[in-house]
Symmetry: T
Amino acid sequence: MGDHVYKTIEVTGSSTEGIEAAVRRAVSKASETIRQLRWFEVVDTRGHIEDGAIKHWQVTVKLGFTLEE
Amino acid sequence: MGDHVYKTIEVTGSSTEGIEAAVRRAVSKASETIRQLRWFEVVDTRGHIEDGAIKHWQVTVKLGFTLEE
Amino acid sequence: MGDHVYKTIEVTGSSTEGIEAAVRRAVSKASETIRQLRWFEVVDTRGHIEDGAIKHWQVTVKLGFTLEE
Amino acid sequence: MGDHVYKTIEVTGSSTEGIEAAVRRAVSKASETIRQLRWFEVVDTRGHIEDGAIKHWQVTVKLGFTLEE
Amino acid sequence: MGDHVYKTIEVTGSSTEGIEAAVRRAVSKASETIRQLRWFEVVDTRGHIEDGAIKHWQVTVKLGFTLEE
Amino acid sequence: MGDHVYKTIEVTGSSTEGIEAAVRRAVSKASETIRQLRWFEVVDTRGHIEDGAIKHWQVTVKLGFTLEE
Amino acid sequence: MGDHVYKTIEVTGSSTEGIEAAVRRAVSKASETIRQLRWFEVVDTRGHIEDGAIKHWQVTVKLGFTLEE
Amino acid sequence: MGDHVYKTIEVTGSSTEGIEAAVRRAVSKASETIRQLRWFEVVDTRGHIEDGAIKHWQVTVKLGFTLEE
Amino acid sequence: MGDHVYKTIEVTGSSTEGIEAAVRRAVSKASETIRQLRWFEVVDTRGHIEDGAIKHWQVTVKLGFTLEE
Amino acid sequence: MGDHVYKTIEVTGSSTEGIEAAVRRAVSKASETIRQLRWFEVVDTRGHIEDGAIKHWQVTVKLGFTLEE
Amino acid sequence: MGDHVYKTIEVTGSSTEGIEAAVRRAVSKASETIRQLRWFEVVDTRGHIEDGAIKHWQVTVKLGFTLEE
Amino acid sequence: MGDHVYKTIEVTGSSTEGIEAAVRRAVSKASETIRQLRWFEVVDTRGHIEDGAIKHWQVTVKLGFTLEE
């Protein structure tokens, strides 16, 4: 986290398994188009319920990446 | 999430295992008396410590459900 | 949580596995020097990304303990 | 707002028209079962988009009512 | 605060005396219909003024109670 | 919004019609005594309910004005 | 709290006795110059300590008053 | 809101008419370049005042859209 | 509050009487080991309920003290 | 900060130089009409950009002053 | 700030000198690819410490720019 | 910021010069007793005013340091 300029974006990943899997999905999808991802911060943890059971976990993360020189 | 009226309640579930299990317990207990649960949002993650180890995870969620027509 | 005085400190644990493991690491490290840990509250969930994958989860918790009489 | 005890609940109304209509829908639905509604406070204004246009406005309000003596 | 599921409600008590009396009034009124109240948290302290003097203190508390098994 | 000093005040306007009308009432009343109003920011949207219908919308705005040189 | 325009100011009262006395001091001082005070809201409770004991309680309140027609 | 990855952006729309029109302008402008807009959330409502009257309403919304597979 | 460096800690005091007594207990306990306490700020007011009555008030304060030269 | 009543106002100063200069401008302007200014707190730091460079820094401060006896 | 649609992005600039220089670096880097930058707002001021001295200041700003017609 | 446990403390530094100098004073004082300081975050910027001019800047920072293995 040294002498660079970073940009932050906000992405929501979903998963039927749980919180970590939803975060990993968000990071994985973002890394398809952004090479220099450096950190994440969880900002919101939500989900959908059907018939009394959790169907999807939806976790919103801020993702920071280096703007290349 | 269409043309309905929703009510939100706040429930805390606990678990010896972890965060997802505590959320599932809160949803499961609430669904015993509320049929139309639709979504949850985690608002607080706490827990109890005994002898230097975590004994319970206690996760507070907002739960939204449809008010039936 | 009865008739005592408590002090709260803020500690960040890290883990390559996930959120619960990072919290357990923070609690475990703090309990090496503090005997009367009673509760925790998650205040921040972050982490590091390398080559498009999460390398560390870093979870900051408030830890409360009894000030001994 | 004198010498009473009040309870607050959280309700989300939706409307295709706009914010005021969504709040009115929430108040109207809640008043079917609660007689002593006294005040509201808007806590969240969201909505759904389809084909580049807003389909529903969804406004969450806190509703306060008198607990009868 | 062990292995249970809790529900939280929000109630406002009022008093001509002061903050503690308003909280006690909220707890007392809620306990008429809820048996398992366990904790409270003050979320708002307001009041009314008439002729330059405080007429009512109005304190809003969150009240947590055990959902019975 | 250039090279000036601004002061901010907080005013609540009310209306039987809706949110915009309540904001306009607050701005209009403040402009009777303050000449250099420049901007507003909505900070709170509340209202009163009587017989299950909204009687007044009450919108609190911050109002910024130039301190004259 | 009907069809009026209100202004809100922020005042801090202090007291050697406690929180209610500090709020009353703030209200009393403000009412020397403002006739139409209607409500208060506590926004901050602080104080000074000397020789291990509390010397002053300092409570900051928002005070609302009617702008006269 | 099922099994997808979403991205959130922040856009401010303005209007001489009111809040809903400013939100619609923000959504409409964003939909020129983003096809999969799904939801919005109002985060800020401000505006400009000239000669004691509101000239523009400026509403900032978060806009969520599906990242295509 | 002049030309010094201060450290802030967070302590929770409890009391069967009320808020001020719980704050005094926190200050008193902290002053057993810290000589230079200067100010406090209330950050949280909670408590325990048994059989429909408040058993303990628990008030969390930030305490600031001078780091000695 | 002893046994007085304080009032707080909110003022925004601007500067082409930086943050401290903008705060100083706000304090200086306010002191033209208020004699007993005692403290400030920075609540917002913004600014204007023209042609890719910062033209003005605009810093909003709360200013506290003693209400004279 | 008239009749336009704005987009907001979040960028972090770093500097060994101080806060203003880190903000200027963020604005300068962003202006390489965005022509219509109009305003900034500081949202976070952090930094790195090595051997007891500050090595980098890292300031996160929101940057607003006009979406061209 | 890798595989360690960190503790966070809150310290306020003061300076007659400005914000950066106050932060440096806080870091410098804390480093007299803590060897492994790693990062800071500004949480509050305040100050004292005398005779219409700023006498001290007081900046509160969170300081993070490695708990040694």
